[in-house]
Symmetry: C2
Subunit: 695 residues, 2 copies
């Protein structure tokens, strides 16, 4: 309805536009002609991966559906936005949905549906991800046979689930949550309570309005004794009436910076009784005598293991970061090709994409998109092998490796994405500040990814811990089996910089630089930890005072190294079918490495580089940006989301930025209305009486 009304409005305004017709001709075709060497179909297939055919099918569905329209969503109220996002998810599910059986067959499948939804908006991926990822996965991981019905009800959307872990007072320190679930043996029930204000479950997606079910995490008490944090699947709204259950208070957390399609809410419990079977009892049980049993004795460790199976949410953060950044750089590059400013060479005015400075700003972002994408493929691959083993083998070295890599990827992907989108926003100048450019929505949404699914600064510590533990093992002569860290040693003599001429920038040499740097940083981190043992008493103090500039830098360097290696697979894949495309993407791959070095220039000092050696890197970086600028439009054309997913007047394939901007502006209801607060203007005129003659 609103969409139809809006379309009529747009059409009317367009027919009756008050703007002059004449516009400059697009320069997109000029760029498309420059970059013809790119085999777009091939590049798209390799970039998207093996799921591409099914994702294309969903894309053509979205393309045809009139419901997917960013501009009409912008005009909705908050409550309408909540509804609209659910409507879009339901609409997509009519086309394709997952089931428990499909998930057991291929655990990556569910995430590629998320990819499709996220191409339109992260809100869609989040709303469905909370339900089918966090809620359903928890039951799959921690439930037992008797909970299977919940799983099937979830996949068939009989229930809407939510995931209530975070509290107002506790985010990162989940072991410190305050909600209690006291076991009452007389009725074989749990009594759930929110003892303080800060114990309210907070920011819980779908709790605001949608969910009837929730996984509630609480300190479990059995016979007066705290048995640690456990998960309970409970009803929060009545299935038939959708009224909040007696003993539960549910509400909305209110206005946010962005992500307006997600109804984040809070939960408060007042002596809320739930049956014993609410406990997801794969790892811990209370037997019929009321005795607590568990296969993992240590409370903190048990909580870590229970949460350790929730891998999908974090992978979805990586894929969301990639998609948002790809959408942003698509918008920024197409805009830069069309937008002209100043004269340069023999044109009247040149595309701003002609300028070296502009290429220097945008091309490294394109390289990062490929790097994150390669990382995502890497995660899918590992996940498919490891996820099916998690329930039975929750402490495997492989799972640990996956977590360590995922933590680093999550931080790197989100920070690339946020800073990259911001650079895209700035590179579009004032036009980028318009809401119709779509860049504000992308940036403000990605912002939250920096924090949720593990705060970036906290996560980097986890990766660092894993690496340092491995090194400690190697001290004891235990061989490092991690496939990504086999090279690890601190028996490092003076490291040498091998990139002394531009011919020496080979894949092997660059890998060697990354590896040597990781060893160097690990060594320095260990030295710092040792030094701090003399200065501080508690292990936590020693650790905390070693984080800044040491451990977290190490984790970041490690993540970038594996991304560089995985990016190489894209290049190798292309080489099999089209050497011209491979050559260009190979340059983008090299640029990615140089960009890593240039962003953390301390590497040059660590390797004892001369000024001249660093200038070789810098100049090669500039040169590659200039060369790749010519191909950049064809590269983004190959990997771009649908125009209607971009939702940007600046980023469309046809390059008609000014017509689209005017259309968007003229379809706002107040565009030409008269000031509704004239009295205020008149009042202000009477305010100041100057002593002079002027009136």
């Amino acid at each position: 309805m609103d969409v139809v009304a809006r379309r009529v409005n747009v059409l009317n305004n367009h027919l009756g536009t008050r703007f002059p017709e004449s516009v400059p001709t697009s320069s997109l075709e000029k760029y498309r002609a420059k970059g013809q060497k790119i085999n777009q179909l091939l590049l798209r297939q390799v970039f998207m991966g093996e799921f591409n055919p099914r994702m294309e099918s969903m894309r053509s569905f979205i393309e045809k559906s009139p419901l997917f329209d960013h501009y009409s969503i912008m005009l909705l109220t908050q409550q309408e936005k909540y509804a609209k996002v659910l409507e879009l998810i339901v609409e997509s599910m009519k086309h394709e949905y997952s089931t428990y059986q499909k998930d057991l067959k291929d655990p990556a499948y569910k995430m590629t549906i998320s990819e499709n939804l996220t191409e339109f908006d992260i809100s869609l991926g989040t709303r469905s991800g909370v339900h089918l990822g966090l809620y359903t996965d928890t039951i799959q991981n921690l439930g037992t046979k008797k909970h299977e019905d919940f799983i099937n009800r979830a996949y068939s959307i009989k229930d809407f689930g939510s995931f209530a872990l975070t509290e107002m007072g506790h985010g990162s320190n989940v072991a410190g949550i305050e909600t209690t679930a006291v076991y009452d043996h007389t009725t074989r029930e749990f009594i759930i309570n929110t003892p303080t204000k800060t114990a309210a479950k907070w920011w819980i997606g779908a709790v605001g309005k949608t969910a009837n079910m929730s996984i509630v995490w609480a300190q479990m008490y059995v016979a007066g004794e705290n048995k640690g944090v456990h998960a309970f699947v409970v009803e929060i709204r009545d299935y038939n009436t959708h009224e909040v259950k007696q003993g539960v208070i549910a509400g909305e957390c209110g206005q946010k910076i962005e992500l307006e399609g997600v109804d984040n809410g809070f939960l408060i419990f007042k002596n809320y009784r739930v049956p014993y079977d609410s406990l997801l009892d794969h790892f811990s049980q209370i037997n019929s005598e009321g005795k607590f049993k568990t296969t993992i004795k240590n409370k903190e460790k048990r909580l870590g293991i229970m949460l350790g199976g929730l891998i999908r949410g974090r992978i979805v953060v990586v894929l969301s970061s990639e998609i948002a950044l790809r959408n942003a750089v698509t918008i920024a590059l197409r805009f830069a090709a069309v937008r002209t400013q100043f004269a340069y060479g023999d044109s009247a005015e040149n595309s701003i994409l002609d300028y070296p400075l502009h290429r220097h700003r945008l091309i490294p972002i394109l390289a990062k998109v490929f790097a994150i994408r390669a990382g995502l493929m890497h995660l899918y691959k590992m996940f498919r092998v490891i996820y099916p083993t998690v329930r039975e083998n929750p402490e495997s070295a492989e799972l640990n490796e996956l977590h360590s890599i995922l933590s680093a990827y999550k931080c790197i992907a989100t920070s690339y994405s946020f800073t990259g989108i911001q650079e895209c926003r700035e590179s579009c100048g004032g036009m980028g500040f318009s809401a119709y450019a779509g860049l504000g929505r992308l940036r403000n949404t990605v912002d939250v990814l920096l924090t949720w699914e593990g705060d970036n600064n906290v996560l980097l510590q986890q990766t660092g811990k894993t690496i340092l533990k491995l090194i400690q093992k190697s001290f004891k002569g235990i061989q490092i089996e991690s496939p990504t860290l086999k090279f690890l040693t601190i028996n490092l003599e003076n490291i040498k910089w091998p990139l002394k001429t531009s011919e020496l920038f080979t894949y092997d040499n660059i890998c060697k630089v990354f590896e040597d740097r990781i060893c160097f940083l690990a060594k320095k981190a260990i030295e710092k930890l040792q030094k701090n043992t003399e200065k501080y008493n508690s292990p936590i103090e020693i650790w905390n005072n070693s984080l800044v500039n040491y451990v977290n830098t190490l984790s970041y360097a490690y993540g970038e190294y594996i991304l560089y290696r995985e990016f190489n697979l894209i290049f190798e894949n292309l080489k099999k079918s089209c050497s011209a495309t491979a050559e260009i993407i190979g340059k983008l791959h090299l640029l990615y490495a140089l960009d890593c070095f240039e962003r953390s220039q301390r590497i040059y000092i660590e390797f004892g580089c001369t000024y001249k050696e660093t200038i070789i890197v810098k100049d090669l970086h500039t040169q590659l940006c200039n060369e790749l600028g010519d191909y950049s439009i064809n590269i983004v054309d190959s990997i771009a989301s649908l125009d209607k997913c971009l939702g940007s007047v600046l980023g469309c394939k046809d390059g008609n930025i000014y017509e689209r901007l005017v259309n968007a502006v003229e379809s706002e209801k107040d565009v030409y209305t008269k000031t509704s607060w004239l009295e205020l203007i008149k009042t202000s005129r009477t305010l100041i009486e100057l002593p002079s003659k002027s009136s």
Copy 2:
């Protein structure tokens, strides 16, 4: 009205809150006890500068006025927000206003009123700045005796003005605008036209609804000849009816990322006739014979000079950056003191501000606030001397120096502010993503400052050009008179790093490092330019290919150096009255320098530092962050805006973050309402029929 209604709502909800009462006790007082050495009154006076007494008077006025309330503004519609901002400005003017006479007496005065408004919100500073800055200043600078009435009407708000320079197709390249003003000698009028879509005046503040007047910039044609871009003061809405004038189309530019209190609009002209006296004719005139005369022959140069007097807008950007960053770091530090997470040492849970990593994230931001503030004082000082001379002497070396410094400051201040606010947002975790935290509003508003009043990337080139021109002069034996660049030379032997032990980090040594680096970068930029003369033909190509990593890096380094020097004046000022406070702020000053080095680590390579030498800087940086963390709450207490100006549930002086958050959340109208789109949920349940037995 809405405010009263809201207050009742808040009160009701608070009395009837559904949340448990118990909350943790605040840790702000623990920190306040740690930092008692700070003389808060003194620090506030020195930080705010000589205008502080009058600013305090306006602050107590704002404190008392019930109209200033961020939470109620959040609930308004777009049109209501436009009105509200105007209402707040008018309200402030009841307390204090500027006049032409006051402005002639002290040109800095008007900007300190902007400071007051901006402490509440940048929208207020912008709405009033467009009118009293851009509009009024242009008439003061470029008008003649006959235009004086416009000036007085502006100060007494008889007229509301706007400033129509930017067009849809032209931002940075103002010489390329398309709007035309053709002189018709038969009627002695100008005929203004918008020939193409891209010629529409775009983003013009106050044009959406408020303004009845505008300064319109257009290509002036006299007897068929283009005489370059000139400024015309024209009526766009009828003074009495406020209807848009015949021949003019005015509308709203629509939704933006933020800055919702500013009614940005567009202007289109269709054969709009205005009298000759609309031309602001200080530099160019058309005489009674219809002949064009000008005191500055070169068109481009003339335009540069005409715009060169508009200094205040850019200074206001610097002050807005400082205030927004100060507000953000106040919020983040107070939150960090109150918020606890994990155990560390002997507490149950520690303030996150206890953690070295958290201090490392926030304390350098505090140092940057002081640096920008020092830069602002520097600008006020220069501006008061130079502005009165601009009309008669628009090409003075002093004005050129002011522009060069201001360009660098504008870029540095805005980029510090944007990235700093984002770090503050992230440091508050999920809480920071709540709109009630205020950090999203601050960041999204500062975002636009990166672009307007000169795109940062373009502005840095201007500073670079000035420095390189001075060096060229010195080649010819002309002495460099610029007070900030006297040291400039490229006769630089191997530069030496003097900071070899922590005792050597003196003011003089650090200045020497900055100065040597600027000389080094200038030399490298010149070498690069010379090398590029062999590679490229046109001067523009040579220049553009030298920008990346060379010219713009030089400009940035120069700006940071002067900020460091100006920051020293704050330290010296404090030393006169309180050595304890001075000692602490002295450490913040040193931290600022170290932070500059650590953010552009190429400096170490340029100076040929050893790894060990760089570690001395890094470790001292960490140590200072740790030491200063203890004083940070008392420092922000000294310089903080009013609680009601911060508009943040996380940042208030009393530290009651959880109560305030719950109050804000519970006063939203939909917090506890039932889902209004139940049908959609029911529909979705019928969507998927699984083959299995489960229903």
